[in-house]
């Protein structure tokens, strides 16, 4: 028994089944990421002043990843075009590049971006203690310039394991972010494109002065919660897409091509649509988290 319109289009709609199926699925994905982005907006609008950080993510790396994903969007549509033009060898090349790009994206994220965050530390200073840490926050200088005040001190800890020690009364930084090491340097006023190196400085902060402190885990702030959730879910979608592409790059694809090349072309078109959507989401994620 065969299902009609699996490969050929139904005359009145002009569509084959999987095309409708994938667009319906993408519609639900729009609602999913729409819900997530709505959450992002409301959390950001509702954040206390100073509690929504800027400039914590590595912009050059993020830009690179964005370029990689855009490139893969081009190569996947070229792979589909190759199939429509019955150039199977070309398809394999373009699809192979697409898969490599996707893998590169994930590798950069999982081996560099995320771990770099997990080893970084930040402590939000209580309102009443802000004056005490003026050398690292520079709020008088910021007030003069009309810029919003800083409430957090970030850097690398001397000993991350000390966080587990309940009896410890202080946090000890071995290095500070440039923004806290030189708070009155005009370069620290706004985030810069190139990440500024950490400054070696041993700084001790009393736990009693701290509102909340954590490594840059999801729990650190609404910002990181949203960042890890959205990029994590996005990453899972990238992985899903890669699995599907790999499946059709293996001999399964060649067999399907031999039986009915249009069928494989349709499958790649549908998978490509999913991949473009994933790219689409990233086009919004990148400025919202890395730049703004």
């Amino acid at each position: 028994m065969e299902i009609p319109y699996t490969v050929s289009a139904r005359p009145d709609t002009g569509l084959y089944n999987a095309k409708i199926g994938i667009w319906l699925f993408l519609a639900s994905e729009v609602m999913l990421f729409g819900g997530l982005f709505s959450g992002y907006v409301f959390l950001r609008i509702g954040a206390q002043p100073g509690y929504w950080p800027h400039g914590l993510l590595n912009v050059p790396v993020g830009t690179f990843n964005t370029a990689v994903l855009i490139a893969s969007s081009v190569t996947v549509v070229l792979a589909w075009a190759s199939l429509k033009m019955r150039q199977f060898a070309q398809y394999k090349i373009w699809m192979g590049i697409t898969i490599l790009c996707g893998l590169l994206f994930l590798i950069v994220k999982l081996t560099y971006e995320w771990p770099a965050k997990f080893h970084h530390f930040g402590a939000y200073i209580k309102k009443e203690s802000l004056a005490k840490y003026e050398p690292y926050l520079g709020n008088n200088y910021l007030a003069e310039k009309g810029l919003p005040e800083r409430v957090e001190i970030t850097g690398d800890l001397e000993d991350e394991a000390s966080l587990k020690d309940e009896s410890a009364k202080t946090y000890v930084f071995k290095e500070l972010d440039a923004v806290n090491a030189e708070p009155t340097n005009p370069e620290s006023d706004r985030p810069t494109f190139w990440p500024r190196p950490l400054v070696e400085k041993r700084v001790v902060i009393d736990k009693a002065d701290v509102d909340y402190a954590s490594m840059f885990y999801p729990r650190h702030s609404a910002y990181f919660s949203a960042y890890f959730l959205i990029t994590g879910l996005h990453g899972l979608h990238v992985l899903g897409g890669l699995i599907v592409f790999t499946y059709f790059w293996l001999p399964v694809g060649a067999n399907m091509y031999k039986r009915n090349p249009e069928h494989l072309a349709n499958r790649i078109e549908v998978a490509g649509l999913f991949w473009h959507f994933v790219d689409l989401v990233w086009i919004f994620v990148f400025p919202l988290f890395y730049l703004l």
Binding site: M1, E2, I3, P4, Y5, T6, S8, R10, T13, L15, N17, A18, I20, G21, L24, F25, A27, S28, E29, M31, L32, F33, G34, G35, L36, S38, G39, F42, L43, G46, A47, Q48, Y51, Y124, Y212, S214, Y217, P218, R219, H220, S221, A222, S225, A226, F228, L229, L233
Partner: protein
Amino acid sequence: METSTAIHSHGPHDPHGHGGHEDHHELGFWQKYVFSTDHKMIGIQYGITGLCFLFFGFCLMMVMRWQLAYPGQVLPVVGPLLARIIRNDGMNSGGVPGVMTADFYNSLGAMHGTIMVFLGIVPIAFAAFGNYVVPLQIGAPDMTFPKINMASFHSFWVGGVIMLLSFFSPTGPAKSGWTSYSPLADLADQGAGVIFNGQTMWILGMVFLITSSLLGAVNFITTIIQLRAPGMTWMRMPFFCWVQLITAFILLLAFPPLEAASFMQLMDRVFGTSFFLPHGLTMGNHLVNAAGGGSPLLWQHLFWFLAHPEVYVLILPGLGIIAEVLTNNTRRPLWGYKAAVYAAMGIGFLSFIVWAHHMYLTGMGAAVSTFFQTTTIMISVPSVIILTCLLLSLWGGSIRFTVPMLFATAFLPEFGIGGLTGIPLAFNSTDLYLHDTYYIIAHFHYIVAPGTIFAIFAGVYYWFPKASGRMMNEFWGKVHFWGTLVCMNIVFFPMFLQGMAGMHRRGFDGGATYDLAKPVIHWNTTISHAAWLMGLFQLPFIFNFFWSMKFGKKVGNNPWNATTLEWSAPSPPPHGNFTEPVAIYRGPYEYSVPGHNVDFIPQADPQGPRTDAGAHGH
């Protein structure tokens, strides 16, 4: 009267080759019954699994009703048994086996709601009936994506098992209401870090259930768009297929924001994030160890964005089933078919923009609450239109009270009560008083219980012969009906009185704490007794269901003399459904067409019975 099953080849080219081109190898047990990709088997899988969950959810309610009728007393037999099965002291309050704790009562409430809605009604009304009937009614050989169909079923039962397993967690199952409001749901049972606890498992289960619904929705919509047989235009589609299409759209677009919110709540619990925890939150007199900066209202908005359309998911398939049963048993067409179809579309659309009427008490200002009051009142219009069409379909009919018809007829006033009692809830002024009282419980149960569940029973008795080739026993069907009908009303009507007195809906003590409940609290015992009696009246149904599969009266293709396409296929239909290619020649409810000597003409019948005028079929 036997109908002519005249379906013949149609069209110059058949994109799927000539019908009957089937796999002839026999499928093994696992391929046939467990990993089936046939929509009929999947429909039955959903149906039986869903009915089991429905019964389980019903049992949870029966245990709850003990606590309400006899607070603090030992539940005989069942109580000590439960105390031994569940791992914590939920049924061991104060060291007395068989006495419920408040926490366990809350768990029962949360799980009763969750299981009935997501594991009972949606899988049965939407997935089971939809899967089985829709492809047959549109003349398709199967769904467009049979493997995804199978995946959706397996995702469903996995989610269900996770929910059931949560009963065995050390702190018990979810207890923050089926609505799972943060911050309570974020923090209940120890806070972040532990996975094997009720609330976290609830969230994980929901993710599987949402996935199942999404996959199913994609399948339904694509199938209805693409696989309608030649001649099956949109306006010739049975009303049941229309509502399934609209329900699928609702599921497709409304569920994902809840999925997003579920991920956020999961992260709050497992990774200690603060999506829904505000700054400075205290619990038990000390500050919660979280960064804060979150918004409890955000959860409510994202939750209700799904949960309101969800209630239309619960009722629309039921309305569709009723339309089929009503037309068949009045021997008349559906009155106002077009109006009903457009009204259903209107409901589908409006359902997405009314959700904050569940949030009138969250401190919304005049502008936003006016908007939601307006849209909520607007949505009552299409609902009334559909009910009116169904009622008017009775007018002038030759009504035969088969068991499905009994349930379908009873549905009408019961759904009417449920719908009309929603009107005071649409306005924030009256809702201010009625919110979170038993009035709400009565309102929505009237719609779902003697509403949708009656439609489900009607559907089961109606389509059982198609799926099995045998009829269910009529006498026991009537016993089931009358017993359930009477008990339903004794259970739910007094709840309106309790609610209007101000009795809170989630009180573990049955309302005893507050004086305002004094005049109405006595109803608790009556309601509980009626609920337990109703449980007894389900036993004939369960027995009838399984007994008739083997010993019921055998029937042919069309025992009900119905017009819609599924009755042109054999009972039960083979793999591929129709033994010959299908084409449609007329509308879905050609009953009692004037000038014909037979009171129905099947959709697929090209000529129709010969008339005195000698004309062709209508």
